[in-house]
Amino acid sequence: GAGVSQSPRYKVAKRGQDVALRCDPISGHVSLFWYQQALGQGPEFLTYFQNEAQLDKSGLPSDRFFAERPEGSVSTLKIQRTQQEDSAVYLCASSLGGLREQYFGPGTRLTVT
């Protein structure tokens, strides 16, 4: 069966450009998480959706980061005016909810030059 997919897999952006990263969760999964993973670090929580509702955005590092999941399935993480410190792998994970297992996508590696 299809797992969590993310696109693009790699993105190079010039400093100041806007980027949009897409996540297709597993069909029927209520919960969706976005994480940022810097080199040599563990994933850091960015935001959480339950269906279309963004219930926790406490991990978004600045107001340049914005996430949406308008129909409760596909989600987009948008980063405006990218900075070099935004370079990282952005991971999306989905689950059936509660404490059910999170299934991670392969990530999008963003490099800001």
Binding site: V4, S31, F33, Y35, G40, Q41, G42, P43, E44, F45, Y48, L55, D56, S58, G59, L91, A93, L99, E101, Q102, Y103, F104, G105, P106, G107
Partner: protein, 114 residues
């Protein structure tokens, strides 16, 4: 302030022997813990979890031990196999804290030598 710490960045173990990966946490609100395995260029894959009402959980070759008083958990893999070579992350959550956030450690790279 790292609330979940994996103090060993790497570990090498002979095939067939036991691998023990350690994780410490500081937040006493954490009551649910997970281990993930990650291969290069892939997302983390869930391995095993444990709730704070237990002190041990087993799933095949994988056992997680939780010592709440020491705020310490460990993952035992026995016997270790070359395919277990990966980066292992522990993660923690406070289920009554009103947050949906999982906090991950920095990972331990396990190499199982054939």
């Amino acid at each position: 302030d790292q609330q979940v710490k994996q103090n060993s960045p790497s570990l090498s173990v002979q095939e067939g022997r036991i691998s023990i990966l350690n994780c410490d946490y500081t937040n006493s609100m954490f009551d649910y813990f997970l281990w993930y395995k990650k291969y290069p260029a892939e997302g983390p894959t869930f391995l095993i979890s444990i709730s704070s009402i237990k002190d041990k959980n087993e799933d095949g070759r994988f056992t997680v031990f939780l010592n709440k008083s020491a705020k310490h958990l460990s993952l035992h893999i026995v016997p270790s196999q070359p395919g277990d070579s990966a980066v292992y992350f522990c993660a923690a959550k406070g289920t009554t804290s009103g947050t949906y956030k999982y906090i991950f450690g920095t990972g331990t790279r396990l190499k199982v030598l054939a």
